[in-house]
């Protein structure tokens, strides 16, 4: 039997104590606001004066708000377009960069450069690219005899234009993740596939891609969350317009909180977004068994 020890000799106490600065910061700046915003979601509050308890009013009025379905549709469209474009392009680029090419280091750096550039700078450059008069994109179109397109002021093209820019911006991260995944693939499996006569497209489709499953899952979840959280490009380039076509959930949340000062409605919206994200992550996680073939039991 062990003798009774002084509390300071207990490693559990020491562990907690050493973690306390981090716990303190997480608690004050992350957990408390999270809890507070959940409660604010049941109030009517414009930052000035005391919040008024209104129960589920914010949730019911959100569901009745004609803007709400539009914002949800915009967000889903953004996420789907972004995911498809991002995953396909990132994987294609990673496969290309996984070859033994000349100047590989240059290309790997080049694709990563937008990731470390601030979204504000990127947005300003892309505003010029999308400028209907003399912008780079329309100039290229003109060489091929195309009519100028009002990329950011046409409700039909504004959201896809933002998706293209966002994919360009974040592509580097996913390329790096895919590259890491590709380089971790067991060489012997690929080799034996080749010996068995599976080359090129067939080898990719039947061997490489299934083996890459865990990476695809990871990249998919991360990219999906990022797409759901899109805000800065909308804030800088379109302000949610034209005709609400680029008002995505987080931008609308910001507008409600800090332009219209409806903190309750904004907080309710945040929790709805959280529920959707948690749900989608759960679905992805559950479905992974179906298509992630090789997952180490961790």
């Amino acid at each position: 039997m062990q003798p009774v020890r002084h509390p300071l000799r207990s490693e559990r106490i020491w562990g907690l104590l050493l973690a306390s600065p981090a716990l303190f910061i997480i608690g004050v700046f992350s957990l408390l606001p999270t809890l507070a915003s959940f409660l604010i979601g049941f109030t009517d509050w414009d930052l000035l004066g005391a919040p008024k308890w209104v129960g589920l009013d914010n949730y019911t009025s959100l569901l009745a708000d004609p803007v709400f379905p539009k914002v949800v549709a915009n967000t889903l469209l953004f996420v789907v377009l972004y995911l498809v474009l991002d995953l396909v392009l990132a994987l294609a680029l990673a496969l290309a960069l996984n070859q033994k090419l000349r100047g590989l280091g240059f290309f790997r750096t080049a694709y990563f450069l937008p990731v470390v550039t601030s979204m504000v700078a990127v947005s300003i450059v892309w505003e010029w690219i999308f400028d209907p008069r003399g912008g780079a994109l329309n100039e290229v179109l003109r060489w091929f005899g195309g009519e100028p397109v009002h990329w950011l002021s046409d409700p039909a093209t504004a959201l896809p234009a933002l998706v293209v820019m966002s994919v360009w911006k974040s592509l580097g991260t996913n390329v790096v993740l895919f590259l890491a995944g590709l380089q971790a693939l067991p060489g012997e499996v690929l080799e034996s596939a080749e010996v068995d006569g599976a080359t090129g497209w067939r080898r990719f489709w039947h061997v490489t891609l299934p083996l890459l499953g865990p990476t695809v899952l990871l990249v998919g979840i991360l990219a999906g969350i990022r797409a759901f959280q899109t805000f800065d490009s909308v804030y800088i380039m379109t302000h949610g317009g034209p005709r609400r076509s680029t008002t995505v959930i987080v931008y609308w949340l910001f507008q409600n909180a800090f332009t219209y000062f409806k903190l309750g409605k904004a907080s309710a919206l945040a929790y709805m977004l959280f529920a959707v994200l948690a749900g989608l992550t759960w679905v992805q996680w559950t479905l992974r068994k179906r298509w992630v073939h090789q997952e180490q039991d961790t």
């Binding site: 300071l8 104590l17 600065p21 000035l48 209907p132 912008g135 005709r243 800090f258 332009t259 000062f261």
Partner: protein, 436 residues
């Protein structure tokens, strides 16, 4: 996730903290150091108490450069230091967060559009009594309409620095070239429609700018006798005949007469740039464009009144000025600062940059405002009598967004007035009905 946590505990149980297995006194010292560090962090988070007046404002760096010497003069005179809080963007948003955080500035620069939101919640002090009792400032030092713009439900919540209204800027050289006489104060919309085609060279140069911004198109509605919301701010009145007429006249400049540029013509260029580069003969805008135009514009230019419609030439008389926190611990010092900022000397300094139409007639009718281009600066003062402040219902910002976004397709010509208006009116009515 749970496994990771369990793993750490197991590792800890295995005694992997050997590096930290210090003798006991050392441990206590470490603990002491840790707690004092945390205490230091907590103290650093608490707001520092000082006697400095906290004063928030927005504005360009040029404006701040004008402001600093004025604040320094105040500190020299009254012995009270001023902490300047410069918030160039998202002003109302940051100010509200300061109110919540209990760090509301003692003195706040504020526009008449933002003022009701703060006044309604009791954030701003009532200044009427202080002004009435003041030995240096009097109510009649200010234009009455401008002082009114700083009132909410009859209570005075700020002393105005400036008023903002709209006039027509025009390029004299383009008028000379076209052989058209300059527009004189008192001219009408019929005059505009008559001369506009002569000032237009299709695809190259246009008679008048086109801005799909409620601030700019509101005078077209008002000058026809219409309005955006009714006086009780319970109903959107854009569908009433007079308002529709005003909107239609403005729309026709672009889509029927083709004397105003379309989006296709301008791309992302702003109207103020088009005017500065000689592509617009006329352009409706405010005084704040003057400092830039004085520096940049090479051609001859001047200003005149907004063209009169059936209800006259009616533009806004909005204002911004200095308000005092209702919770300030130094009300006397805060009032002295406001009084100093609103003094003749300070307002003159602000006016000399060309940026503002001063709130004080003694400055407005003096050389600080009237000398220098534009020669016709008096126009800014002559329109005050008929001007009116913008109506600010509680959901003002959201309504403005709906007006900009909802009417967008109408201004581009994709939708007619009849198609675009009803959904916008419905939405604005719903926002007006929201009881806060």
């Amino acid at each position: 996730m749970f496994r990771t946590g369990w793993a750490i505990r197991r590792v800890a149980g295995d005694g992997c903290y050997h590096g930290l297995a210090m003798p006991r006194p050392a441990r206590s010292r470490a603990l002491l150091a840790l707690t004092s560090l945390m205490a230091a962090v907590l103290v650093a988070c608490a707001p520092a108490h000082s006697t400095a007046l906290r004063f928030s404002t927005w504005g360009s760096l040029d404006e701040i450069a004008t402001l600093r010497p004025i604040l320094e003069a105040f500190t020299r005179k009254e012995g009270v230091p001023v902490e300047l809080i410069h918030i160039p963007d998202e002003y109302a948003h940051k100010l509200r967060l300061m109110v919540v955080g209990g760090t509301v500035p003692d003195v706040m620069f504020m526009s008449n559009e933002a003022l009701p939101g703060f006044a309604r919640k009791g954030v701003l002090a009532d200044l009427a009594l202080r002004l009435a009792k003041d030995g240096q400032l009097r109510e009649r030092d200010f234009f009455p309409q401008v002082l009114d713009a700083m009132r909410w439900k009859g209570t005075l919540h700020g002393l105005p620095r400036d008023l903002s209204n709209l006039v027509v800027f025009y390029n004299k050289d383009l008028f000379d070239e076209a052989g058209v006489p300059y527009p004189k104060p008192g001219w009408t919309m019929a005059d505009l429609q008559r001369i506009a085609p002569k000032l237009t060279v299709p695809g190259k140069r246009w008679a008048i700018g086109f801005q799909p911004n409620p601030l700019i198109w509101t005078p077209w509605v008002w000058s026809h006798g219409g309005d955006i919301v009714d006086a009780s701010m319970t109903r959107c009145t854009l569908g009433d005949p007079a308002a529709r007429e005003g909107l239609q006249v403005y729309l026709d400049l672009r889509h029927r007469q083709h004397v105003a540029p379309s989006d296709k013509d301008t791309g992302n260029a702003r109207m103020t740039q088009l005017f500065a580069t000689g592509k617009l003969a006329m352009f409706v805008y405010g005084r704040w464009a003057v400092p830039g135009y004085r520096r940049k514009i090479k051609f001859n230019w001047d200003v005149t009144t907004f063209p009169a419609g059936p209800a006259g030439s009616v533009v806004d008389t909005d204002a911004s000025g200095w308000a005092m926190s209702a919770r300030t611990r130094q009300p006397e010092a805060a009032w002295k600062l406001i009084r100093h900022l609103a003094s003749r000397e300070s307002i003159e300094a602000f006016t000399r940059s060309g940026l503002i139409v001063p709130s004080r007639p003694d400055v407005a009718y003096g050389p600080a405002f009237l000398s220098g281009s534009p020669a016709g600066s008096r126009v800014f003062l002559d329109v005050i009598a008929k001007g009116r402040p913008t109506r600010v219902p509680p959901a003002y910002d959201e309504i403005t967004w709906e007006l900009i976004d909802g009417l967008g397709p109408m201004w581009t010509g994709e939708e007619s007035l009849d198609e675009a208006l009803p959904p916008v009116i419905k939405r604005v009515d719903a926002l007006l009905a929201e009881v806060r």
